[in-house]
Symmetry: C2
Subunit: 205 residues, 2 copies
């Protein structure tokens, strides 16, 4: 296959890169045909390597998808926490969360497709995920809301858990619609639309 190593020093770097390249190829293939309709051979071809090579970097097809979710979610949460640390005020924090959510997924359609579609395409994954990354994400939102209630900016007659799910659900739906849409439009700006409703409600005062 294409150039792999040249010098000692480079070799290591390139090994990591190849794992990355396979992951990238897998995302592309999964996004196009769905996990179960994708063959390992498809991924190998997309990555420009032989079928067997995939197994030098991943234990199984399943592990490829797992790796992807783990890393993507980890990245996302780390980034989120970092950004939130710099912000004061529950309202502004939620705004940042919403923007980050849509910016991140809106920046990479293939990644978004796999995330939205495949992650939900298996109860098993969902369960595991629910316990792990996803739950953590919802928790961050929930706590921010609870803080806002203590600070007096948010109504106190609402359960933070439920409110967190509502915000998450609304954002999630924006993403799902965006990936299914034929038209291509920027996703990130939808955050403000969502927040207008979320903060103020739809009723005319």
């Amino acid at each position: 296959m294409s150039r792999s190593t040249r010098t000692n020093g480079e070799a290591r770097v390139f090994v990591a890169d190849k794992r990355e390249a396979i992951l990238r190829a897998a995302i592309k293939v999964f996004a196009g045909k769905g996990y179960f309709n994708s063959k390992v051979a498809d991924i190998a071809k997309e990555a420009g390597i032989a079928d067997g090579t995939v197994y030098l970097y991943f234990k199984s097809k399943d592990e490829i998808l797992h790796s992807f979710f783990d890393r993507a979610m980890e990245d996302f949460i780390a980034e989120g926490k970092k950004q939130l640390a710099e912000i004061e005020g529950a309202q502004e924090k939620l705004r940042r969360i919403a923007q980050l959510h849509l910016e991140r997924l809106g920046a990479d359609r293939e990644l978004a497709i796999v995330f939205q579609v495949e992650l939900r395409g298996s109860t098993k994954f969902m369960q595991e995920f629910s316990a792990a990354g996803f739950g953590e994400y919802l928790d961050i939102i929930r706590e921010t809301i609870a803080d806002g209630q203590k600070q007096g900016v948010f109504r106190k007659d609402l359960k933070p858990v439920v409110v967190a799910k509502i915000l998450y659900g609304a954002l999630d739906e924006m993403v799902t619609n965006w990936i299914l849409s034929q038209k291509s439009y920027p996703l990130a700006p939808m955050a403000d639309e969502v927040l207008k409703v979320f903060f103020g409600g739809v009723l005319q005062k």
Copy 2:
């Protein structure tokens, strides 16, 4: 296999019933292991019939899932339209939609699982579905919101399409969380929680 027909008159009924029974069995199996991990043989066993018999009622495994979605969505929309016809006022209509949404799915966990998980588990299905039933559902919500704006009960600075997605997304997330939850709690009451936020927003006035 179990008794199938006895008299003239019953025969037809039972034929329809058997199709129904297979569908029911399929939902149960799909809910438990996911579409791709379910064998046609599993469905047959669950329905108490031979593998081949499935093919007397459905052209393929794929068609089973399709039939399910088509019928479920059709039923749901028909019921929704009927109920909405009896209600005045955009606000009350939306309340009914939300309640119906959660009542229906909350009444049948297996159906809900297949609906939430499998429907999203394939871009192909989603695309087809998007064009068909799902789009129609979102349209109903969207129009109700637009009506509400005309009537002056809803804010006019919001795009009905987006608002419809927000409500749908929030409800959808309630369902998803409900099916993933270990604890068993009634789903329908969440409708009011969602609507409190949706109508009034989370900000303290």
